[in-house]
Amino acid sequence: MALLGRAILLLDLGVCLYGIVASVYGARSRRQDWVDSGRRAVYALAALSVIAFVLLEVAFVRNEFAFKVVAQTSSTTIPLFYKLTAPWSSQQGSLLLWVTLSSVWSTLALYLTQRRLRDIAPYATAVLLGMDGFFVSLASFAANPFQTVPAASAPADGAGLDPLLMHPSMMFHPPMLYTGYTLMAIPFAFAIAALITGKLGPEWIRDTRRFALAAWMCLGFGIILGARWSYTELGWGGYWGWDAVENAALMPWIVCTAFIHSIQIQEKRGMLKVWNVSLVMLFGTLSIFGTFLVRSGVLDSIHAFGASTLGVPFVALLMVMVLTAVGLVIWRRDQLRSEHRLDSLISREAMFLLQNLILVALTFVIFWVTLFPLISQALTGTSVSVGPPAFTPFVVPLALLLMLITGIGPLISWRRATVANLRKQFVYPVGFAVLVTLLVLTLTDAGRKPLAVMMFAFGSFVIGTVAQEFIRGTAARRALTRDFWPVALAALVRRNRRRYGGYIAHLGFAVMLIGVAASSSFQHVRQATLRPGQSVSNDGYVFHYVRPTESVGPERISFGAILNVTKNGHQVVRLHTMQSFYRATNAADGFIGQFFDGNNADSTIGLDAGPLRDIWSVASADTGPLLPLINRGNKVFADEYNAIVTQVKKLPPAEQEAAYNAALAKSNFWNARSLAVNEIAGQYLKHSYPVVFQFIVSPLVTWLWGGALIIFLGGLTSLIPPGLLARRRSPALEPARVAVRELA
């Protein structure tokens, strides 16, 4: 199976090379048969990559520990669900996943455009195959997932998956991110091809816009899944830490957000052509830059990501991408001139442009601060640590400005707004925002955080804008059709999916940033060391440590705590938080200690999520008091084991294995060890050991997740092909419909 996998990867490389040659030759010689053959090479690459990935999955499911990657990241005891996710926890497997996803999306894009973009598609095919070929080369020669050890030296069991990666998000978070990254290659490839051929009309944008939108949606959803994972799994109570790996995903997403807005100006008014093609180049390059940061280990600090040898090839790829993109844009600058000029600064185009500038500025800030440790090292020779204090002075005002523009943009007319237009459009959204802000200031103590209050005000303004657009649109539709409100609303969205999908996404954005502002500004954190029966209060809530819990399972031993939370004497919720210790294979831990190794532990938080506030708790179990028992157990079992081994070694080699197994069985060694582990773990319940708790009360965290879901829904609404939502219309009734329209 490993041999087959390695052969497929080499075949993949051959297919890529052939496809590039066939596509370019076909395009230059105008031989459609070669162009078609190049396109089919992408289909073949997708089929082969899927087979290779399935082979790898099978190796994980069947515990084939002769595969190095399986031995390093899986074991016999991890559940099937996590065996299926383990391939992308490794460098090797994740490269194969990248190739598989990229080739599948490339196949889809080229299949859908095979009858259009005939001049552009061959070069796009060559670019896509070139990028796929790069990743196939890495998977073949630098990080091969099908690398094996001789069967005789294969371990009996694998090292297992990092406990922190055993989370349901592992199934969706990395594949969603990779889907986003790989989908971004499609507009990038078509943009390069359009520049090469000089066919810079609206066609390539129209045909690849959906891929940009899908990339934006998937990458955004992947980022949010990561934030949720961090909030519920990593035991620190936050969802965003400005970690370089988070930033690496955020940057292309922000640039893609700018693109899916500014593209409308090019479509409507033939403006911003250089800008749009530059944005495509930028998010395409940033998607590779992100994976370079993650895999290269270039940042030698707290933000380093597993040293590897992949940095140099990635730098080479990035340089090729940047130089090609810049060179092509300069070469084609005459054809990229705008057809119109900006008529007024008070117009929708100007708002789009301003929004784009803010988004690009935001990207630049994140890029600069993320790389600042490297820049500082190069300039001063000293490594510098930068965290949230370096981001927030820029990100907060830019986010506020962005929110304001998000509210203003849809209210202003194209080309030039009049005073009458502004008055008519702004009255209700501004009134709504003022009302909400006054209510917030009156009913809460939010006034002490003016920036958060501004975000509430601007967010309310956006919600008011979106509501007004939906109400006015639905009313206009009702006036035409006399439909009921819900029917008219559904028809309105169906007929203008892109516009109203965008409004839904704006609504989600406002809800999400209100949640971010509230939860980051008004969070209450309290740490306490408690024994059973003791209590502590945080933001008016009393956390009472009721009793400890303990459980021993085949995968882990868990020590937890039952907490009772009350407010003003009334019961609020009962929480269960625990820390689980996964079995380690470190020889130094001993026969008993391997079950209590703090290096292989993770936390399960106790969470009560509500629409207005989250109560979050985590316990750090202290196994220190168990240490004397663990050490004693280690000694007893090591002595017993060594005695058995000493006896066995006196026998002829041929008899040793049978004698060894018989001796262990006779002494009931493993059952005794199991009893000892249970007994030691049970001590946790018998004694009132103190536990270190962290309690967090945060307002509106749920709004963050809810807002993200609304954004996703908005993206989906814009993305759905017209045919899926169009109501079947009888041709016989068309004359009647025309008559109704004319009468109306």
Binding site: L164, L234, G235, D589
Partner: protein, 149 residues
Amino acid sequence: MDPNRKRAIRLTVALSAALLLASALIYVSFSAGRDELTASQLLTKARPGGQYILAGTVEDGSVRRVGNRLDFSILSKDRRVAVAVAYTGQVPDPFAQGRAVMVNVTDRGGKFVGQPNSLTTKCPSKYQAASGALKNTAGVPAGPAVVNS
């Protein structure tokens, strides 16, 4: 107004704004950034009462919990020098021996005390095998899993 003049003004305003943002960014990066010290640099530079950021790898076998205090040592890059840290506060789940960590420490007369809740660890999802997973297991066979009795 002459369209060319209008364009020139807009360009000047945009470039000035960009320049302003860039200058502010450079200033804030340098002022908000704090030097990270390795274990050997810390031992050279530390003065009683001084606060520093210590970065490095947690030494194998150095992690001990004493009540609600966590004691561990951080190794220098060449792994020759280790600095012992006494830390209280929140410990992120990814913290483990052999992992890259960063902690704010105060020099208390030669002893380094970690500032509460300042311990951060490397993101775990970066293509590394589970902690301790690849170490030598010779001498101690794993044996079967334990079950609840």
